[in-house]
Symmetry: C2
Subunit: 335 residues, 2 copies
């Protein structure tokens, strides 16, 4: 077991939990048994689900928890009363070094607050951030913050740049210099908010050890694939992400209506490839960066396959020593 | 000529100007001769273009201008040195009551600065805003601000709500109560930035004469068609708009690659309908709202058909008495 990555799973959060969670673990184990799972939740229900798969039985330990954080609960209220919840206990297992990482498909706000309460921040990072993967013409890029911090100053944005670079390297096994860009409303140095101008000038001025600074990027360039990490505050990042989701849904729904059944059949393989390329389950798993131990949030509405993808993300992060990478990436800034 | 709408056109801005501009005017005149055009630009070039169309010759007057604002010029520099430019002179004609509205496909930043220098604000409005049309499942909605104001306070956002409602009514001949929403990162009242919470509480508390308040909306709901006017600051609005454009391009480009020629042929009519529905030329024309006389910005890269659409927008705005509507919509707020 020592060679395996130990993942603490909150089995009670998200749609169709815990069935989807256990099925996701099963899918992941079928492809490789490189992880061990500490599964937190209501024991009797979990045992029934786990009884279906020997593979899961052999690679997990159930920890009975008495309480559950529900999806529409306010984060602060959840944190206040949730000390016996599956989410809380899963994250606590990281503090106790029982697990290397934790994974939940539950209430995002509560997960962020509880993680911050239990786990210490990495020295030098004031605000942890939520990072996600975004498909582009070449592959994927990392975007952060996606909603953990509504207001950010230049120190926060610089930290995001370092953490994003470390995450990109960890996930894509990249030993080069990820290209970092700041999301803005124009490309010229004088454009945009003051906080962006300040961050721009620091990034431009400093010799960057671990990544390359590509300047500003506009919203329409996010998917062009010319940069690897896109930095923004949590308000803007959340609006951009959801606007992209809404636009993608709108277009694919309307296009589907426009294609005859026969023409869909005729392009079946190519359309399937396209659908696979854009399958949101592949990008499932937002990573909460900046704490001494990483926490991954699966989309609440994803299915078992999506959940299995977020398990893979957990594995990569631990194997790549993300936290150590972040520490070595932090820049001391000559402001 | 008295029954016509008088449109001042800056013929020298945007790609392929002035040819595209004159062709756009010609297309517009072919469908209806309800507008008269004061065309500002270099007389010799314009005369050559206009010589091609009797219709344009009969419905325009050329005003020779000596200078041109170029696309990559800084707005302030352009405003400082641009008093003899086609853009400046076109807007000045509004001040002189020679024209009802002006239209330019040139440098957006310069257009905003020059408009503000020449035209007075509507009493009670501190910051004019740039509004655009966004397609949705039902029809279109109005979104503002798309980039005129990077920072906005609650007074600005309330003004945007009133101006947006007046614009929606003007463009869609709507005499009801447009549904207004604030763009945010969550739907609950306590979510998001302080300025949004303050705006929310004012809109909720006040009896609104001219529109209905629908609360918050998230980025993925912009295209759902459940609201008519979406309010946001210029930074967020610009990022959202461009992210949507980038996403739409990414998906349609990849889908095109995935469809076989035969299957495109088989769905030809339906795909054509879809393409027409989403044709960005139809949404061409961002409206600068809040000045005593309206200014419309055509996309610089649109073609003659797109430019003709923005002429139609100009016509509707003047015929619907947009400025009077805005004045009557402004709310005195019990904060």
């Amino acid at each position: 077991m020592t060679n395996k990555v130990n993942i603490a799973v909150d089995a009670m959060g998200g749609e169709n939990a815990p069935r989807k969670i256990i099925e996701g673990i099963n899918i992941s184990l079928q492809s490789s048994q490189k992880n061990f799972f500490y599964i937190y939740g209501q024991q009797d229900i979990l045992e029934k689900e786990i009884a279906k798969s020997k593979l899961v039985q052999q690679n997990c330990e159930i920890i009975n928890t008495k309480d559950v954080i529900v999806d529409d609960e306010s984060p602060l209220a959840a944190a206040k009363r949730g000390k016996e919840s599956s989410m809380w206990k899963a994250i606590e297992s990281q503090k106790e070094n029982k697990s290397d990482i934790s994974l939940s498909a539950g209430n995002t706000g509560a997960l962020l607050v509880i993680s911050r309460l239990i786990l210490n921040s990495i020295n030098g990072i004031n605000k942890p951030a939520l990072a996600g993967l975004w498909p582009n013409n070449n592959n994927m890029n990392v975007v952060l913050d996606l909603g953990a911090n509504i207001e950010c100053d230049e120190k926060n944005l610089l930290d995001f740049a370092c953490m994003g670079a470390a995450l990109f390297k960890s996930l894509f096994n990249n030993n080069g210099y990820p290209r970092i860009a700041l999301l803005n409303v124009g490309l010229e140095e004088h454009k945009g908010k003051d906080v962006l101008k300040k961050t721009y000038s620091v990034l431009k001025k400093n010799k960057l050890k671990n990544f390359e600074f590509s300047g500003y990027i506009e919203g329409n360039q996010i998917m062009e694939g010319n940069v690897d990490v896109i930095i923004t505050d949590g308000f803007t990042g959340n609006i951009a992400l959801k606007t992209a989701e809404g636009t993608a849904n709108f277009i694919t729904k309307n296009l589907k209506k426009s294609l005859s059944k026969l023409s869909i059949l005729l392009s079946y393989n190519a359309l399937k490839q396209f659908k696979e390329k854009l399958d949101p389950r592949k990008y499932n798993g937002a990573i909460f960066l900046g704490l001494q131990s990483p926490v991954v949030k699966s989309h609440g509405s994803t299915d078992a396959i999506g959940f299995a993808h977020s398990i893979e993300t957990c594995h990569k992060i631990v194997r790549a020593n993300l936290i150590e990478k972040i520490k070595s990436h932090l820049i001391t800034v000559d402001a």
